[in-house]
C-alpha cells in the first residue's frame, strides 16, 4: 500500500470521529431520560442480544458440511471446532484470555498444518 501519510491521517481521523459519534450521541440526545424504564429495559437486554448477533456475524461463513461431506477448509470444521474450544473453556475456566488464546492458536494450527 502506497498511501500518502496525510491521506492516511485523514482516513484515521474519519474513523475516529465516526466511532466517537456513535459513543457520544446517546449522552447528548437522551441525557434527561436516564431513568426511563424503556432505557433501562434496552440497557438490560440489548447488549447480550448484540453480542450473540456479533458471534453469528463473525461466523457467517462457517459451513461444516460442503456438498454432503465434512468441510475441512478454514471456514468448515476448523472454525466450528475452534469456536467450541473457546465456548467450553470459557464455561469451564472463566478465563477470557485463556479461551481466546487457546481458540485462536488451535484455529491457526488447524488451518496452517492440515
Amino acid at each position: 500500500m502506497t498511501e500518502h501519510p496525510l491521506l492516511l491521517l485523514g482516513f484515521i481521523a474519519v474513523c475516529a470521529l465516526a466511532t466517537f459519534a456513535t459513543r457520544v450521541l446517546p449522552f447528548i440526545a437522551f441525557s434527561r431520560q436516564a431513568e426511563h424504564p424503556l432505557v433501562l429495559h434496552l440497557g438490560r437486554y440489548l447488549p447480550p442480544a448484540v453480542m450473540l448477533i456479533l458471534v453469528i456475524y463473525a461466523m457467517r461463513d462457517c459451513s461444516p458440511l460442503a456438498q454432503g461431506a465434512v468441510n475441512l477448509d478454514a471456514n468448515g470444521l476448523p472454525m466450528l471446532l475452534a469456536a467450541l474450544i473457546v465456548a467450553i473453556l470459557q464455561l469451564w475456566r472463566h478465563n477470557a484470555l485463556l479461551s481466546i488464546l487457546a481458540g485462536t492458536v488451535s484455529y491457526m494450527a488447524m488451518i496452517q498444518l492440515f
Partner: protein, 220 residues
C-alpha cells in the same frame, strides 16, 4: 481482572493484520490511540487494503459501531455526574470495556474513579498489544494465517459472560432469530445493522406488551 488482558492478544492481532496489509507501524499505533475500537479498527484496515473512499469508510464505521449507541443508552445513569472523567469514559466505551463495566460485581457504575481506571488500563493493553503486534508483524517469518479468529473468539467469550450475568434466554432467542433472518434475507454488508435494528425493535415491542400486561393486571 482476566477480561482486561483480552485486549493484549487482540491488539497484537490487530497490529499483525495491519502490517500484513501494509499499514505503516505509526498509523496502526495512532489508530489504537485515537479510534480505539476493536472490530472497527479491523474493519478500517480491511477497507484501507481495498482502497475504499472516505465516505464509504465513514458510513461503514458508523454502521458497525452503531451498537455503541445502545451501550451509551444503558450507561446514561451510571455516567451522570462523572464530571471531567465523562468525555474519556464515553470515548473509551468499547465492547470489552462496556462488558467489563456492566458485569463488574461491585458498584462500578457509580464509582467513576474505578471506571476510568478500568477504561484507561483497557486502552493501555490495547495500545501495548498493537505495538507488540506491529513488531511481530514486521518479522516476516511468522505465518499469521487465521489470526482473525481472535475477534470471533472475543465475541463468543463476551456472549457467554453476558449469559452468565443475565441468566435469561429471551435476548439470546431474539438475537438468534434476527441474526439468522438477516443472514438469509439481507445482503452481507447490511446484515449486522439490520439484525441489530430488528432486535432493538423486538425488544421495544416486548417492552410495550409488558407494560400493557402490567396495566391490565393492576386494573380491578
Amino acid at each position: 481482572m482476566p477480561v482486561m488482558f483480552g485486549y493484549l492478544p487482540l491488539g497484537a492481532a490487530f497490529g499483525i493484520l495491519a502490517m500484513d496489509v501494509g499499514v505503516p507501524w505509526w498509523a496502526a499505533i495512532t489508530m489504537s490511540l485515537v479510534i480505539y475500537a476493536g472490530a472497527g479498527q479491523f474493519l478500517a484496515v480491511a477497507l484501507l487494503a481495498n482502497q475504499a473512499g472516505l465516505m464509504e469508510v465513514a458510513v461503514a464505521t458508523l454502521m458497525l459501531n452503531s451498537r455503541h449507541l445502545f451501550y451509551g443508552l444503558s450507561l446514561l445513569g451510571a455516567f451522570s455526574g462523572a464530571g471531567w472523567r465523562k468525555p474519556y469514559l464515553i470515548f473509551a466505551l468499547t465492547d470489552e470495556t462496556y462488558s467489563l463495566l456492566t458485569s463488574h460485581r461491585g458498584p462500578v457504575g457509580q464509582n467513576h474513579a474505578l471506571a476510568i481506571k478500568l477504561s484507561a488500563l483497557n486502552q493501555l493493553w490495547w495500545v501495548l498489544g498493537t505495538l507488540a503486534g506491529v513488531m511481530i508483524g514486521s518479522q516476516l517469518a511468522f505465518d499469521t494465517t487465521g489470526i482473525e479468529f481472535v475477534l470471533t473468539a472475543l465475541f463468543i467469550v463476551l456472549t457467554i459472560e453476558q449469559a452468565r450475568r443475565l441468566r435469561q434466554w429471551m435476548p439470546f432467542i431474539v438475537a438468534m432469530v434476527t441474526a439468522l433472518a438477516a443472514l438469509a434475507l439481507l445482503p452481507d454488508r447490511h446484515m449486522l445493522l439490520g439484525a441489530i435494528a430488528t432486535a432493538s425493535m423486538i425488544l421495544l415491542i416486548q417492552y410495550r406488551l409488558d407494560i400493557s400486561k402490567r396495566q391490565q393486571a393492576e386494573a380491578p
